[in-house]
Amino acid sequence: MTMLAIWNIDWQTIADATALGGVYALMAVGIGLVFGVLRLVNFAYGQLVMAGAFSLALASQWGWPQWAGIGLCFAVVLALSMLMDRLVFRPLRGHSPAVMLVATFAVAFLLQSIALLWFGPLGKIATSLAYLNRPITISHVDIRKITIVAVVVAALCLVALALLLERTTVGLHMRASSMDFQTARMLGVRANRVIAMAVLVSGALAAVVAVMLTVQNPLVTPDFALRDTIIVLAGVVLGGMNRPIPATLGGFAIGFASGLLGGALPTNQSQYLPTFLFAAVILVLLVRPGGIFTRARLVERV
């Protein structure tokens, strides 16, 4: 601990960093799953989270019980994911990665401006789960309940996802499709089903992330989760885009690192957190352009 104490890091910071890493890992998987089958970097992923967060805020404004709010969040995010698949991903299939990236960039911008039109720049407050922000004391360390919840939920989701991918037929089909879609299809793997599954699972993860991020940050604005998406995208590319495990590790690593950095930097430098974070990202990319958690190999050209 002495080493960490110099860096101004305590257990609470480590716990919070782990929780942030967990949430980012889920976002990373959500982005990575869709990339795996469609070779499409979904920049609009954060806006799915944003839509879920607004659903939670509206539900708490209408006085709905918690479970109904969470239900609404899942319903809205899943519906929006499927809509995105039909209206955006399908027509884009087979186009160059650059075009797909700019197109999802446009969708992100569009969803954000719709939210701005509906809810205004000041946003809404989601209060129903705010009690999770209260701390509990574990051996003299105060830890917010949401920190523990986030770590546990992230771990459960990742285990469930691993089981789905490793133990079920549709999981096998998803893995094969992300390696060689054409061959998988010629073996009888149904493309639309695999893609729908990836989009749905990715949407469900976005809904989970929406719930956890709104607890930590109850003020929901149109740019909710936008910054997180950019950081997670960097993490996913750092980890290695086209395999689920490296992508997840990349997401966790960048979340954990930014949590730790946030705690470690002296207050007068903490505003420069993005600079430190992205400088580190660029440095790592220069050393391992194909990802740190993969065998050295270049990924998709853009």
Partner: protein
Amino acid sequence: MRSLVVEHLDVRYGGVHAVRDLSFEVGPGEIVGLIGANGAGKSSTLHAIMGVAPATGEVRLGGVSLRGRRPEDVARDGVALVPEGRRIFAELTVEENLRLGLAARRARGDVAAVLQSVYELFPIVEEFGRRQAGALSGGQQQQLAIARALVAEPDVLLLDEPSLGLAPTVVDIVFDALAAIRDRGLGVLLVEQRAQRTVAVSDRCHVLANGELRVTLGPENANDTETMVAAYFS
């Protein structure tokens, strides 16, 4: 088992006319060979049947048209492809590769019996089930690719240059397996570069040049080098 019928097939990629007015049939319990030089249109024919190449003309399985169908639907209808270069999923285990082949299987239940019948043909696939498929040798990967196609219990098996890059002893294993598969009643469409062996094993062997059918040879022509050379360079 149903027959595969190809009629007046044409494949064009932009300005390139890869296959011209090609017609042939693969019946149950038959091996039909398709040989010719590089670029003669052999692989394009297979891709057209699988629905991944732009084609006109007719492709029927048991009288039902396959034209305009997606590759996964063609596979589920009973046409299995062993692709060129084997296309094994190197990062999956041998067993997982085999299970992928089940994706196209229409019948439900009794997977164990299907696997058993494939293991009889290719014992190494059972033996190395838990290994990563990428760790297998080229010949073993080729056996896995054929096994993977067979577990779908297709009516017709298409093979794209299965002997490419294999040692002579392994080529023997592959060709013996093809004969055994024919004897089980499947139709086999074999695209090959090894002309002589293909003619010998086939019931009929079509020679393609420039996308056109030039001549059809029978097993009796296997040692008739002159005819074959003439057909290749016609």
